[in-house]
């Protein structure tokens, strides 16, 4: 892929941009939709029977390993649940079968089954209170207006919390970021360690940089929700736990707001750690 492909809602994706090598089915990420082509009068073998169109404006990205395509959306703040997204939800109230949670503050509540946790049975299910945070996966979004969105903290096939870390988030702090930033963070954190690139994955080096610098104070845990929330916890940090958490939050929100390039991100991390008086 030579130059980034910028798409507007309704744009068709040219077939030369799609990964062609793999035999596995193509996976569609958020912001893309499969439309069936109206049967043309002269069906030829060269034109595919379906077209992919964008439903959001953004940059088209491909992931050759997973054979997936998605749209890196602009930093908007409105989140629309898409199946398989990881989100940070806040429990609003519970009913006998479900926890009713908030994913987007002013949108209808989503439901999370009382037993949709790793190893949960009727007797051992987690007792979540109002205001507790849960890291969960979107299981289904339903069809049409008013459909209920369902979350889960467990893979129904294996009974395990997959990927790891799903479930109740205790302690820590949540910072608000834009949806676009959340996507970039997820790509950056899932790819870190596997391939070291000079300017990081998705133009983000902040997590690697913070990880290196905060290693001495005990490292940190991070959970990124597609709904524009990042949960950060440095409970191993001892005396500087609070300061380190605030520093991470400030780094992430500043980079999001000012759209910093990798070199500036490194400078920002050093500057904020110095300002917060964290020894590294």
């Amino acid at each position: 892929m030579s130059s980034p492909l910028i798409l507007l809602p309704g744009d068709e994706i040219p077939s030369e941009y799609l990964p062609s090598s793999s035999s596995a089915p193509l996976r569609l990420g958020p912001g893309l939709r499969l439309l069936s082509q109206p049967p043309s009068s002269k069906p030829t073998s060269s034109t595919p029977s379906h077209v992919l169109t964008a439903t959001q404006a953004g940059i088209f990205t491909t992931d050759a390993k997973k054979n997936a395509v998605s749209i890196l959306s602009s930093p908007n703040r409105r989140y629309i649940p898409v199946v398989n997204d990881l989100v940070i939800a806040q429990v609003h109230h519970s009913s006998p079968d479900y926890f009713h949670c908030m994913v987007t503050p002013q949108a209808p509540h989503v439901v999370l089954g009382q037993l949709a946790f790793e190893g949960a049975t009727k007797k051992t299910r987690p007792m979540l209170k109002q205001g507790d945070l849960v890291y969960a996966r979107v299981l289904s979004v339903g069809l049409g207006a008013g459909a209920e969105v369902e979350l889960t903290c467990v893979n129904p096939a294996t009974g395990k919390a997959e990927p790891g870390g799903l479930g109740h988030l205790t302690g820590g702090m949540v910072f608000d970021i834009s949806n676009g930033m959340a996507v970039r963070l997820m790509r950056a954190s899932s790819a870190s360690g596997q391939q070291q690139q000079e300017d990081g994955v998705a133009g983000l080096v902040v997590l690697d940089e913070l990880g290196k610098k905060l290693e001495k104070v005990g490292g940190f845990e991070i959970a990124v929700g597609r709904n524009g929330k990042v949960w950060v916890d440095c409970s191993n940090g001892g005396d500087v736990a609070v300061k380190a958490t605030v520093a991470i939050g400030r780094c992430l929100t500043t980079i999001d707001q000012h759209d910093l390039v990798p070199a500036d991100q490194k400078k920002l991390v050093s500057r904020i750690l110095r300002e917060m008086k964290i020894e590294v």
Binding site: P105, Q106, G171, V246, G249, R250, M276
Partner: protein, 298 residues
């Protein structure tokens, strides 16, 4: 669904624990304002205030009306503020929430009841006509501390605004257009501003200019309104838990410092805008065509 989303337990606990260590989420000190930016639009009395991520637009306008019967010498001054869905998804259009009532009330007290704008100077003909000054506040983004931001906007707007000149001739009121006569500045008696504090941890921690999350986690708020001379014109603690009396005494001096700081920022912005206007205005007037125009008509 017109409700501010409540904070999660983690966020509430963390904000409190951090404040116990004197750390705020954006790295500010307890008595530090967020970056404040005041800019003026093309027309007189059009102000944009940006306080951190809270931003609003204030528009001052004037029209000639009849004064109230019981106060024939006074002009009118109203502050109109509506929290619309433009500012935050938590607000509904046309439905008044608690926050709106509260903020409107405080603004009324700080700016209007302290006589910041001399309403007697707005009188044109006793009991017949006077100027009615209206300040419209539009919130464009909300991240806490609406009161102070709105107060800054209104005061900057009043100082920036120029009303049309009006003259009484043979019992007739003649209002000259902005291009016919030099417009008149409003008569500002003093420049009061409000400073809002929020208390945490049973009143032991007091912070200034809270963000939305900090506001939600706080126990109570204290609003102090005062001017550059240190005259306190408003003080309130409407709801929430109790606050020690010494907080009021201590924080009034902090507030005075901040009022001076903010007024200096407003003054600087006003000066910059004035000099910009003087430059462009002179160019427009001193054009050669302007001199020749009357001769053409003869």
């Amino acid at each position: 669904m017109n409700k501010e989303a409540p904070l999660s337990i983690s966020e509430r606990d963390f904000i409190l624990n951090a404040l116990r260590e004197d750390v705020r989420l954006d790295g500010r000190a307890a008595d530090q304002l967020r970056p404040l930016n005041v800019t003026f639009g093309e027309e007189y009395g059009h102000v944009k205030v940006q306080l951190g991520r809270t931003s609003l637009i204030v528009r001052i306008s004037a029209e000639v009306t009849k004064p109230h019967d019981d106060r024939p010498f006074d002009g009118l001054f109203t502050i109109a503020m509506e929290l619309t869905a433009m500012g935050s998804p938590a607000w509904d259009n046309g439905r008044q929430g608690d926050l709106e009532t509260y903020v409107t009330n405080v603004l009324d007290r700080v700016v209007r009841h302290s006589n910041a704008l001399d309403t007697e100077s707005l009188c044109i003909v006793k009991g017949v006509s006077c100027w009615s000054i209206r300040a419209d506040v539009h919130i464009t983004d909300y991240d806490g501390n609406l009161i102070d931001a709105a107060c800054i906007g209104i005061m900057a707007g009043l100082q920036h605004f120029r009303r049309q000149d009006a003259v009484v001739k043979d019992g007739q009121v003649i209002v000259y257009g902005l291009d016919e006569r030099v417009p008149v500045a409003l008569n500002i008696t003093h420049k009061p501003l409000s400073i809002t504090f929020h208390t945490f941890d049973e009143g032991k921690k007091v912070i200034l200019d809270a963000t939305r999350k900090e506001e939600q986690a706080s126990e109570a708020d204290v609003v102090i309104g005062l001017n550059n001379a240190g005259d306190v014109c408003f003080m309130s603690k409407f709801s929430g838990s109790g606050v020690d009396a010494m907080v009021f005494v201590d924080k009034t001096s902090v507030a005075l410092e901040k009022v001076k700081e903010i007024n200096a920022i407003i003054d600087k912005a006003l000066q910059a805008d004035l000099s910009k206007r003087a430059k462009t205005g002179m160019l427009e007037e001193s054009r050669a065509e302007n001199d020749r125009q009357p001769e053409l008509e003869v």
